[in-house]
């Protein structure tokens, strides 16, 4: 499943959101989120904002309206 997830994102230059990934993988978002968290933790994936910029370096993630409304996107670290 992790391999499948990474492969899925390798084809998406602008990454995918959680809902898009779960739809593609036909799995529940909560289950997919655990996989994503592990891959982000291992440095395989990067969290990016809705505008395609990296959220990981932003200090106001918890207050970001744009992020709250549109959600994070994920890209493969090697491609970013």
């Amino acid at each position: 499943m992790l391999t499948q997830l990474v492969k899925l994102l390798e084809d998406k230059e602008n990454g995918l959101s959680l809902s898009e990934i779960s739809r593609e993988m036909k799995a529940q978002p909560t289950a997919v989120l655990c996989m994503i968290d592990l891959l982000v933790q291992k440095g395989k994936l990067l969290e990016v904002g809705p505008d395609g910029k990296c959220c990981a370096t932003c200090g106001i993630q918890t207050e970001c309206n744009l992020l709250a409304a549109r959600g994070k996107r994920y890209v493969v670290a090697a491609l970013s």
Partner: protein, 560 residues
């Protein structure tokens, strides 16, 4: 105690299983006692380089050697499979879990986000978004105006019928002089009651607004209108109060609370009264029928359009002068998922907003009603209205309107009373030109008869509203076609005093001049006295200028 896992063993694949087996062999070779841990589980954790387990094993006898072997094995597997050992095992676990879930559980995906996306594809579409928005607002507008009208009539009848009669009865029991009777009935009941009549409309308006807001559609409407509102230096959120301004400016002013920036709120509140409210409609209808006949509908539509155009121009001027856009008013749009509105939340929203209107606007109207009553009745015993202070003041300001084509004291007086509520312009003119209404003969009724009448009226209003509601459905018509009653006598009187051109200038002036006292009260309450004064002054100035241009321009083109 030793933890065993003999019942279940996940197969991680040949390469990993071989490394696990090699590490277990190493435990025995190095004489490493795994203690309370299962050998297989510990081997797996060591290969995954679990930080907690590494720390524990390091403290155990021969732990260093075991860790070194495990590291070697993990690197070997990683080099062969091209990924971290722990990721490979996690992948196998997720794959196994996924297989079990697929075989044992059949359920549809939670599709709320998808549904939201699908709806948004239509309602925020580049071309479809606007027609959808106008369709939604048209339905809401019709529901508020049409469905509430039977209840408005019922409230009007209640206040001016039984309630006024009960007050008269109570006053008759007291030794209060006649002027106290007049002050309470003609001043307070007529003035405050005139505002309370609109409460059913407000309840219905806020009900539908709460439905739209709680469902998440309001955010989409603001998104759709955003690019148009930027022309006048505002954001999409300002459009909702402006739409509400077509019904009544007072709730529209309060509706600006949804806008975060104070500058945007003020600018919106200054433009909202330029939207032609429903109170101006009686004036348009009376003058339209008197002077434009079959073209009355076009003239009324033109009044609404003129209000929008003037609002856009005024917005551009304000944006470039006293209300320049601030850098902190960036519009961050949140599009929450659609959800089913909770009835309790909607009802609370509806009640709180209406209560605010009754409390604040009602207070302002009460004071204004008292002042107007005094002005109409002073000096004491005045026989003719034109000799009252009100009549004299009206006569004094009347010359101001001479360049606009209407300079009679009656017109000036009607415009002054229109300051209380725009529809009073018509009733004042009717009283002045037609000599006032005859005193109504009140048939004595018992309290029981009054209560039955109130209940019956409410039932009738509910039935009428229900019919109107159903008639909104295309192809359904449960409402009898009734033509608006035409005040022929007033029309004739108006034709004697106005020309078509001066009547047009008068309509333009009524559309644009000072907002009613309740609207100014709302602006004062929300933004302070200075902005209320600004609103009154700038609108009156614009009204005078535009009416002047209409009348004098018309004369120049020989239309007078």
């Amino acid at each position: 105690m030793t933890i065993t896992s003999s019942l279940f063993k996940l197969d991680y694949g040949g390469k990993i299983e071989r490394e696990i087996a090699k590490l277990i062999s190493a435990f025995e070779e190095i004489k490493f006692d795994t203690g309370r841990y299962s050998q297989r589980w510990l081997a797996l954790k060591l290969l995954e380089a679990d930080a907690d387990i590494l720390a524990r094993v390091q403290a155990m006898p021969n732990g260093e050697q075991v860790i070194a072997r495990a590291k070697q094995g993990a690197e070997h597997v990683s080099s062969m499979l091209g990924d971290d050992f722990d990721l490979i095992t996690a992948d196998r676990r997720y794959g196994y879990i996924n297989g079990i879930v697929r075989q044992s559980l059949h359920r549809p995906l939670i599709d709320r986000i998808t549904l939201t996306d699908r709806i948004d594809d239509i309602v925020t579409h580049k071309w479809l978004g606007l027609p959808v928005f106008f369709a939604v607002m048209y339905i809401v507008f019709r529901l508020v105006i049409d469905v509430s009208s039977p209840f408005l009539d019922w409230t009007d009848a209640l206040i001016n019928g039984p309630l006024a009669n009960w007050l008269r009865f109570i006053l008759d029991l007291t030794p209060a002089p006649a002027w106290i009777h007049s002050l309470i009935i003609d001043g307070i009941v007529a003035g405050v009651g005139g505002v309370l009549v609109f409460v059913p409309g407000l309840l219905i308006l806020y009900f539908f607004l709460a439905l739209l807001e709680d469902s998440g559609y309001m955010s989409r409407a603001a998104f759709v209108m955003d690019r148009f509102m930027r022309v006048v230096g505002l954001h999409g959120k300002s459009f909702i109060p402006m739409i509400l301004g077509f019904g009544c400016a007072v709730p529209a002013i309060y509706a600006t609370r949804t806008i975060a920036s104070r500058r945007d709120r003020i600018l919106t509140a200054l433009l909202v009264p330029l939207m032609s409210c429903s109170a101006r409609l009686p004036v348009y209808v009376v003058f339209g029928l008197a002077f434009f006949g079959a073209r009355a509908g076009t003239v009324i539509w033109a009044m609404y359009a003129l209000g929008i155009v003037v609002a856009m121009l005024a917005g551009m001027v304000f944006t470039r002068t006293i209300l320049k856009p601030d850098v902190t008013s960036a519009f961050v749009l949140e599009l929450p998922p659609y959800r089913q509105p909770a009835l309790k939340s909607v009802l609370i929203h509806m009640w709180e907003n209406t209560r605010e209107f009754v409390r604040k606007a009602g207070t302002t109207i009460l004071y204004a009603s008292l002042v107007m009553w005094w002005l109409l009745n002073l000096p004491w015993g005045v026989a003719e209205q034109r000799d009252s202070y009100f009549g004299k003041v009206s006569g004094t300001i009347a010359p101001v309107f001479a360049p606009l084509g209407f300079d009679g004291w009656e017109t000036g007086g009607a415009l002054v009373t229109g300051f209380m509520a725009k529809e009073i312009v018509v009733s004042t003119m009717s009283q002045i030109y037609l000599g006032g209404e005859e005193a109504e003969v009140i048939q004595p009724t018992t309290l029981g008869e009054d209560l039955i009448g109130i209940g019956q009226g409410f039932v009738d209003a509910t039935v009428s509203s229900g019919k109107i509601l159903l008639s909104i459905i295309p192809g359904v018509n449960l409402v009898d076609a009734t033509s608006a009653s035409e005040d022929t006598a007033l029309s004739l009187a108006l034709r004697e005093r106005f020309t078509t051109l001066s009547a047009t200038a008068f309509l333009v002036f009524v559309l644009l001049y000072v907002p009613c006292v309740a609207t100014l009260g709302a602006i004062k309450h929300e933004f302070g006295i200075s902005w209320a004064v600004t609103s009154a002054v700038y609108q009156t100035a614009i009204a005078w200028i535009v009416a002047f241009l209409v009348y004098q321009g018309g004369l120049l083109f020989g239309l007078g």
